[in-house]
């Protein structure tokens, strides 16, 4: 039986009727048409489906939409301010930290969340924080450099 849930996604309030077996990824993509969140493995290994839920990055493929009711969700669509990219996005573009782009929404959200909690991370801290987000183009070096660059930009 469908039930109504309330979500705050990127500062917009939604009321959505969902099936108990719909994941948060499915509801974001299929009901709210927010296609920036990707589904990769579907079992919490790759991090392509990363969203920020109540301040913490999580695999949205392993969250039931009904469990997320009442939560505040941030997806990749909420990161830029209009046409102005967030410093993390800017750094990803400028340093070539994007190849095929499938992991990028998750990478950007995890990195943004890291810098909000730890504005001066060491390289090791960046690698550990990003370790749930896999890039199969294996562009990790550029991604780490982009996060360092974004940290420097935000500080200045």
């Amino acid at each position: 039986m469908k039930r109504i849930i309330r979500l705050n996604v990127n500062d917009n309030d939604y009321e959505v009727a969902v099936q108990p077996n719909q994941t948060l990824t499915q509801v974001l993509r299929e009901e709210l048409n927010l296609l920036g969140t990707k589904e990769g493995c579907g079992i919490g290994d790759c991090g392509a489906c990363t969203v920020i839920m109540d301040g913490r990055p999580v695999n949205s493929c392993l969250v039931l939409a009904v469990q997320a009711s009442g939560s505040k969700i941030e997806t990749i669509e909420g990161v830029a301010q209009g046409h102005k990219l967030h410093p993390v996005q800017e750094a990803f573009v400028n340093l070539g930290a994007i190849q095929c782009g499938f992991c990028t929404p998750g990478m950007v959200l995890t990195a943004k969340n890291l810098l909000e909690n730890n504005p001066n991370p060491t390289e090791q801290e960046i690698r550990k924080a990003m370790s749930g987000n896999l890039c199969r183009c294996t562009g990790y070096q550029k991604i780490v450099e982009a996060v360092q660059e974004a940290a420097a930009q935000i500080k200045s």
């Binding site: 994941t23 290994d45 695999n59 039931l64 370790s131 749930g132």
Partner: protein, 296 residues
């Protein structure tokens, strides 16, 4: 896309309502906490419950507090909280270390301590340090409360003594004794998103003289159907002097205490060798912790 099968979903408001739902559904019901195991198992068709009962919104199930010389951890406490919490890091650094090695940061933000225990995987990350630290758990049902040690609770891979109508509510740890220390080491191919090839947690408590080992617990993980005590290592240590040679000789005994299998993650011979190596390393580190060094 990995789709979930159909099921009914119930959001329990309190422990009693969760217990009565479980008592009504019996084997047709399944508790869901963080969902990092349950949802994967559902997607992969390994479990088929008709009803999921969520315990996420029950207040009082998460949090860490001190209570009469014990630390009580609510079963819905997140693994990431265990890794970051000041009290856990101060009192039980090896538990914080194990928590920070579980899955990935994204998994740790959903996975709970209770889920890691009830799922009862032979390589579960939190179980070895919890056993080494002498943890007990509290199970609640409509009939009352049961307190069990993890040794009594765990039976085999995915098997425990929990009844269908019971819910794991608390994990209880005795406060750390003076002159004690411990360490947990997980051996894996990678640092993240890894299931242990072998993991060992060791805990030692010395006499006031700082020389004699008064108590020792050595837990071996991923080398038997469930986490086990390295009984002959513990026996060799208790009453002995804390020296590098004693730790070295005792650690070798772990080889005959374990029963590893060969699988995709490692061969049984390799696992036996690594059990001895990790036992020695964790014991030496535990001794250093007694001497005041930080392990995590």
């Amino acid at each position: 896309m990995q789709l979930l099968p159909k099921f009914e979903y119930y959001e329990a408001e309190d422990i009693d309502s969760a217990c009565s739902l479980m008592s009504r559904f019996q084997s047709d019901g399944k508790i869901i906490a963080g969902g990092t195991d349950v949802l994967v198992n559902l997607k992969e068709g390994k479990i088929h419950p008709a009803n999921l009962i969520s315990v996420s919104k029950i207040s009082g199930l998460s949090g860490i507090m001190e209570q009469d010389s014990h630390i009580v951890i609510g079963s819905h406490t997140l693994v990431s909280t265990l890794a970051e919490d000041r009290l856990i890091k101060g009192e039980f650094p090896m538990l914080a270390k194990a928590a920070s090695n579980l899955g990935s940061p994204l998994i740790r933000n959903r996975a709970t301590i209770g889920g890691n225990i009830v799922t009862a995987r032979p390589a579960a990350d939190l179980i070895p340090p919890l056993m080494a630290l002498g943890a007990t758990i509290e199970l609640k049902s409509l009939d009352g409360t049961r307190n069990l040690t993890l040794e009594e609770f765990l039976v085999g891979p995915g098997q425990t003594t929990i009844r269908n109508d019971e819910i794991l509510t608390k994990v209880i740890l005795p406060e750390t004794a003076p002159y004690s220390g411990g360490d947990y080491i997980k051996l894996g191919h990678r640092k993240s998103l890894e299931i242990a090839i072998v993991a060992v947690a060791s805990f030692i408590k010395l006499d006031k003289d700082g020389m004699t080992i008064q108590d020792a617990k050595v837990i071996l993980s991923a080398v038997a159907p469930k986490a086990i005590h390295a009984v002959s290592v513990e026996k060799a240590l208790i009453g002995a002097k804390a020296t590098a040679e004693v730790f070295e000789t005792a650690a070798l005994k772990a080889i005959s205490d374990c029963r590893p299998i060969s699988d995709i993650r490692g061969g049984s011979e390799y696992r036996r060798d690594m059990v001895a190596a990790l036992t020695r390393k964790t014991l030496l580190k535990a001794f250093k912790e007694v001497m005041g060094e930080k392990i995590f």
